[in-house]
């Protein structure tokens, strides 16, 4: 399922116009993104939580050339699956 399919399914299920459903989906992911960019956590009960994880730098190698390179510190978005979703997926 991609975003436009989600928008269509939402419009149908809630009897909304595509425009309204699009706004809902975009606002939803937009606000999660905004929070993560600020470094805030996001917690959606039953679904999961998002946070930004800090990773230390390390020395790595280019697997093709074997060249040693420094990999800098990085921040990455991380999603932890919520209990309800976790159980639901494992059941069916």
């Amino acid at each position: 399922m991609n975003k436009s399919q989600l928008i269509e399914a939402l419009a149908k299920a809630e009897n909304l116009t595509i425009k309204k459903a699009e706004m809902v989906v975009n606002t939803m992911f937009g606000s999660v993104e905004e929070a993560l960019v600020k470094g805030d956590r996001v917690e959606i009960r039953g679904f999961g939580s998002f946070k930004v994880k800090d990773y230390d730098g390390y020395q790595g190698r280019n697997p093709k050339t074997g060249e040693i390179i420094d990999v800098g510190q990085k921040k990455l978005p991380f999603f932890k699956v919520g209990k309800e979703l976790k159980e639901r997926v494992d059941q069916e």
Binding site: M23, I44, G48, N62, I69, F79, K86
Partner: protein
């Protein structure tokens, strides 16, 4: 600060297109639709944001960490999320509280307004291609 579902509903409502009840129902429904897709082992791809998918994990032998008894853990299905390159770049390049968080001097300053570069490319590090 933690963003919650209630905050998201408030944001949707503030767009002025739906009533509070409609906004709450629509957010809840969207999440349900995503959960339903994943329960059916369908991938969910939100371009520019990320992708959720379901992975099947094989059964494995484990141990009860308390007693040390060996036991067989059954096969299971888990949800994984891969953030899109765009989201990763935005999070990485967000201004942070401590200036030490900035990338080492080797990394050229990100040109404003250009497409966000993959971390590895900008820092000369290991290049890992994202999916999208």
């Amino acid at each position: 600060m933690t963003l919650t579902k209630a905050d998201i509903v408030a944001r949707v409502y503030s767009e002025g297109m739906l009533t509070k009840a409609e906004a709450a129902d629509a957010v809840e429904r969207s999440l349900d639709l995503v959960k339903e897709a994943l329960a059916n082992e369908e991938e969910v791809l939100v371009s520019g944001f990320g992708k959720w998918s379901v992975r099947r994990k094989a059964a494995r032998r484990g141990r009860n960490p308390q007693t040390g008894d060996p036991l067989t853990l059954p096969p299971r299905k888990v949800v994984t999320f891969r953030p899109s390159r765009v989201l990763k770049a935005k999070v990485q390049n967000a201004p942070s509280e401590s200036p030490e968080q900035a990338r080492p001097a080797a990394a050229p300053a990100q040109p404003q307004g250009s497409a966000p570069a993959e971390n590895g490319e900008a820092g000369g590090g290991v290049i890992r291609r994202g999916y999208f």
